[in-house]
Amino acid sequence: MSVGFDNEPTTLDPAFSSQISSDRSVLNLFYDTLLRQNRDGGFVPALAEKWEAEPRALTFTLRTGVKFHDGTPFDAQAVAANINRVLDPATKSTKTSALSKVATVQVVDTTTVRFNLKDPDPLLLVQLAHEPGMMVSPAALKAKGGEYGRNPVGTGPFTFDQWRSKVQLTVNRNTSYWAKDSDGNQLPRLDKVVVRFITEPKVLRTELATGGVQLVRALPPEEFAQLASDKQVSMEDVGVRRSYYVALNTTRAPFNDPKMRAAFTAAVDRSAIGKVAASDQFDLVPSFATKKDWYYDDSITSPSFDQAAAKAAVTTPTSITVLARRRAPDPTIAELLQAQLSDAGFTVKSEVLELQTQLDRMRKQDFDAAVLVVDVPRLDPSLVFDPYFTSKGSNNWSGLTDSTLDDVLLLARSTDDKVVRSKAYGDVQRRILDQRYWTFLHQAKSPLIHRTALKGVVLNVDGQWRLDEAYLDR
């Protein structure tokens, strides 16, 4: 089976993966975690048969007889080695902060491992079920050293064969995989998976239409719309969205003034932008929350499009620059914004930049307004709101220092009580919308697209796949 993948990972070492919305689909081929999170958010056993949670500890009982692809046994020592590696500052893992509440990992016996926590962490199970908790062979890490990222060894359904940069990654069936399907059949079912790295959407679409690949990571709406009548291709809306937004720089004029931010938002006709930029395949929702998210709240409303109100607010000549990334459809969105904002009395310039330059400008707060996109849902709402809206967030583009918002976000990530969290994320969204820090645009649909012959693709909470149970029905 072949997969068309537009976002090649830079490493196959989960401790260093960086593309949070795409790397895992590839890493899932090689690695398992102690437990898995289902699409509905519930946890099921994987490398651990069961676990016991206390406020400041988690004890896992491990599955026996599991081996890494290099033949070394998977046991409590291996779990401790993996977690300690991520926690060790010297490793410089990109996942350290995800496990920051773990104080020590204690090997009780070969099949029992206990995580002692500094503080209760409602997100720990989520993190352990994904990249930060992926189990890597300690022996392979030692043997491969700096080359490990290109020679992955896990316990997962497929073993590494070859990785040719910018061309393809080939993996073979792990013949001694520990998992079986619900009927007791040995997994995985596919003998071989070739992940082909194809970045051009038109080529990706052509490859899918001609059967060159059986599954694609993502296609933009204008491309998948053309496959709608193809009976060989199946498209399923699994709730994944590309959520476009305009961040406003609140650290300088004009958008340090809430009235001007309100004028900006009122001037934007989100529906008109969605129709053009997402070929009419979009949802209009108030923020990053998708309609299927557990914390989605119907009662939250988006500010309405009101050109007259915007015009009335722009009383003095106001020049602004809108930054956008040089990749479809972002420049189109910037042009539409330019037209709509000009109609409301703003003097607008749009600057189309490549991503690195745009991020550089946004980090230095050298911009007025900027268009970007986030793939949603993420594994947890805190992972999508915290980076952008906390004062110390890594992507606090707008330069916010809003203690009210900081407090609610802290509350939302400090408890596992879903009722409390749901209400808190409602408050978070209302605060962001009331203050008009950002203008959330449309959420473009990003369906799961594959040849109809391919069955059994299992999805993570955020829509990334596992191919353990996948097969080709010829």
């Binding site: 830079t10 910018k166 080529v203 001609t210 991020l359 890594s394």
Partner: protein
């Protein structure tokens, strides 16, 4: 000749030093942070700062330059910031695809561009000439990305006789390799074929108007002999100049073409590395391309002497 060759090769050294300095300086002026691609967009500023220090980005630029050139002189072009692979190995891995694409494009040029130019000149101001000249204008004015998409649509999707994208190394499966190379080679070759056709036509027409051709005709020599032996030999010197210059253009054409057809060559390597700010890769790859273009131009100068006995070195 040997003295000339040594002199020319020696002249390459200062050129390379200047190019490497300009290249290094320009890349350091690029906005953007290489740590974004390595650590992801969500990494904290502290982690970024630590990585920048690790990569030596906090050192003064002159020191970074000396470290790099010091390594380059001993054949060590450093390691990719993104994937930690040795730059030299990455370039060696990517070079074959681009060289192969270029070679096929050049073969197509010799097989199509040169004969078409000769025919158009010999039959100048006839329908044949008009058709060929028009075709060349189309080939010259069609952007590569557009031609590539068109070829994929026709041969990949409608006719389904050629693979729409991908790459198979020649050593693994020669037939599949060539099948995958056809569309990208036509895309890259289109411009060069047209340029060479027009240049051949122009210089041959000029040569055919010369006195020595009139004399040859008056002596009763056959048209074929006049064209191929007398006129073409004189007409081909400017064609070689243009062809050598086209090698540079060929490199820029590979950037778009390789990206569309997902051919893992030097073009995609450089562009992707620029986008992800993987500067060791950009430096190494551009340097290799510069050396290559300089050598091709030197080769063209040597070919002149062979074609035109009046040129001596």
């Amino acid at each position: 000749m040997t003295a000339y060759l040594i002199r020319r090769l020696a002249q390459l050294v200062p050129v390379l030093i200047v190019v490497s300095m300009v290249l290094f300086a320009l890349l350091r002026l690029l906005p953007g942070d290489p740590t974004t691609e390595i650590l992801g967009q969500e990494a904290s500023e502290a982690d970024r700062a630590a990585l920048r220090a690790d990569l030596g980005l906090d050192d003064p630029v002159w020191l970074q330059y000396l470290n790099w050139t010091g390594g380059a002189l001993t054949g060590d072009l450093g390691r990719s910031w993104l994937t930690n692979e040795p730059v030299g190995a990455v370039i060696l891995d990517r070079l074959p695809a681009t060289v192969e694409l270029g070679l096929i494009a050049i073969v197509l040029t010799v097989l199509i561009g040169l004969p078409a130019g000769i025919i158009a000149a010999v039959r100048s101001r006839t329908k044949t000439d008009a058709v060929m000249t028009t075709a060349s204008v189309f080939a010259l004015s069609t952007p590569h990305f557009y031609l590539a998409a068109l070829l994929i649509l026709v041969f990949g999707l409608w006719l389904r006789i050629l693979p729409p994208s991908g790459y198979v190394p020649f050593t693994e499966d020669p037939l599949q390799n060539l099948l995958h190379m056809v569309l990208p080679a036509i895309t890259i070759g289109s411009t060069i074929i047209a340029v060479i056709m027009r240049q051949t036509r122009g210089s041959l027409l000029a040569a055919l108007g010369e006195d020595y051709v009139r004399t040859a005709r008056a002596s009763g020599l056959a048209q074929r002999r006049i064209v191929t032996v007398y006129a073409l030999r004189n007409a081909v010197v400017p064609v070689v100049t243009v062809a050598a210059l086209q090698i540079g253009a060929l490199m820029s054409a590979t950037v778009v073409t390789e990206a569309v057809f997902t051919v893992p060559g030097m073009g995609t390597l450089i562009v992707n590395a620029i986008f992800s700010r993987d500067l060791p890769i950009v430096q190494g790859a551009v340097l290799v391309v510069v050396v290559f273009v300089l050598l091709v131009n030197l080769l063209a100068d040597l070919v002149y002497a062979r074609l035109d006995p009046r040129i001596t070195y």
